[in-house]
Amino acid sequence: MNGRGEAARSLKFRFATAALAGSLAACTAPGPAPDATIATLPVVQVGATPSSDGDYVVFFPAGFSFPVELDASGTLFAAETRVETRATLARDLYVYRYWASHDGATWKPSHELLGVKFDGGLDVKGLKVRISVDDGE
């Protein structure tokens, strides 16, 4: 076995992810999506101003590029680090309160439509944090 590779593999300090399931469970919607109510609401594209004070559905179109702020802080660090980057949606996404939809007609609890997974750890290249957002359909 290659000595360097063996050494690199042995230095894997991974983050435990057991807490993730509990965190997602806490996001459970209070019940089935109120389809009839949602169907009556105006759809407002992200960035636009709602025409009234009432409730509405937020629409994120495919290709929408949204900013993501990355912020690393804590007492282990000498200073806070903050950068801003962007991510782009592959599919249309409609969001209303606890529920989300890709077509504006079929709704699911957000945590079921969007499966978020976290993995991270420390190796000889430094700290690595990976967040995967997959379709839960």
């Binding site: 435990a16 990355l70 690393a72 991270g120 700290l127 990976r130 957002v133």
Partner: protein, 137 residues
Amino acid sequence: MKSMLSLSILSLSLLSGCAGMRPPSADTLATLPVVTYPETPLAGDYVYRLPAGQPIEMRVLIDGSVLAGGVDQTVSASLARDLYLHRQWASEDGRTWVAAEKLVGVNLDIALPSYEMPGPGRIHLTVDRLVGSGTSQ
């Protein structure tokens, strides 16, 4: 109301599954070579040192089928104190060792754009030195 596309991974810890094991003796670990980041270990066992004040790379990846364009961003952060690592053990002085999750606490907070927060997404990684861990100061 809290956004349903927001989740917080509380109290993520390094190798929490190893809690309860006895830490190695300082004499045992004192015989091992100390490899200091960003040096790469060549072969055999070793103690890995993350030096205070030196930029350490943190790679943040965000991907998945929901995204057409993800994030692959590397940022640097510096530690406030030296940190020594050996397998699941950690130390601030290279002599007194404790389970890593008792010395370093990791919290990751993720908020995707949503109905309640149609602005930027936010990823906040907090890494804290856990006070009262019993390590030498």
